[in-house]
């Protein structure tokens, strides 16, 4: 029995560290996009500037939603680890819904910008903006799909060492996306108003 447990713990450790290394390469990806954005921020090609386009209040709402979802995601893993399946699932569903709310707000913002003629083709600044924030949005979308899969998995197989391992990896991913967003909020949205 203990041998089996040890093996599953080893597997857990390896999976967690492997996934962590993936997240580290993702940091490098986002660092490049942030550097690009900061360099091209003022290259508006005679169009509207960041200060005219972005609303920090809107971004604050997005930030709070994502922060809350990061919190519920952490609680979900914790509750599941304590074999509290119903509460853990509820928290996971809350994470999922908040994630969907976040991506909807972002899509709403993107659609508005494009409809106003401020698309990624307008200027180098907007290209860099859409690439940076859009890449984060794609990550969030993948996270939402993952959360749906986790809900189904938990309902089907219950709280096992496998489902706990998968949940831990998902929570790492989700917390990481929240961290990236903090910097997007600071540099892109708050930095625009300065």
């Amino acid at each position: 029995m203990s041998k089996v447990l040890n093996r599953s713990f080893e597997k857990y450790e390896k999976a967690e560290f492997g996934f962590w290394l993936y997240l580290m390469t993702d940091i490098i990806l986002f660092a490049s996009l942030f550097a690009t954005y900061m360099i091209l921020k003022n290259n508006v090609a005679g169009g509207e500037t960041a200060a005219q386009l972005f609303d920090p209040k809107f971004a604050l709402v997005e930030t709070i939603i994502l922060l809350l979802s990061s919190f519920t995601c952490g609680l979900a893993v914790l509750l599941l680890r304590f074999k509290n399946k119903a509460a853990g699932l509820a928290m996971l569903v809350a994470t999922l819904l908040l994630g969907i709310a976040f991506i909807s707000l972002e899509l709403y913002e993107f659609t508005n910008l494009v409809n106003e003629g401020q698309s990624w083709q307008t200027s180098a600044f907007l290209s860099a903006f859409f690439t940076l924030v859009g890449t984060h949005g794609i990550h969030i979308t993948i996270g939402i799909v993952w959360a749906v899969v986790m809900c189904v998995y938990l309902l089907k197989y219950g709280v096992t060492s496998n489902s706990l391992r998968k949940m831990t990896l998902f929570s790492l991913f989700w917390h990481f996306l929240d961290l990236v967003w903090i910097f997007i909020f600071t540099i892109v949205y708050l930095g625009a108003v300065l």
Partner: protein
């Protein structure tokens, strides 16, 4: 093996969430209420707040510390953060410098290069 209790673990998340919320809102208020006159000072303060929030979330949500189990994760993220700074600060440095030189008139550029050549390499 002593079983960990649920309440203190949840407490850690609550602390992380509350401080992240406060720091984000504070950053927003600083910008909207224009606490600082210069944009550079404001940006420096904002980046400081973001870095603080990064540290808090790493500890509270991602459980990064120097204890045995998360040690390798701590070292890899420290290394990655250094690489991140190299990419971001390095790019900004090079491009600002390029921008500065591109802004010169041809005469000023010639003068600048003669000046630099005198200094030697």
């Amino acid at each position: 093996m002593n079983q960990p209790k649920l309440a203190p673990l949840i407490g850690k998340y609550v602390v992380g969430f509350a401080s992240a919320l406060i720091l984000s809102t504070l950053a927003y208020i600083i910008v909207v209420e224009q606490w600082f006159e210069s944009a550079d000072t404001t940006m420096a303060v904002l980046l400081l707040l973001a870095a603080l929030q990064l540290a808090i979330q790493l500890v509270c949500f991602l459980h990064i510390d120097m204890s045995g189990r998360s040690r390798s994760r701590t070292f890899t993220i420290m290394f990655t953060l250094v690489m991140m700074m190299v990419i971001v600060v390095g790019s900004l440095w090079v491009m600002r410098n390029l921008d500065y030189r591109m802004g010169m008139s041809p005469e000023a550029m010639t003068e600048y290069m003669v000046e630099q050549n005198k200094k030697g390499f």
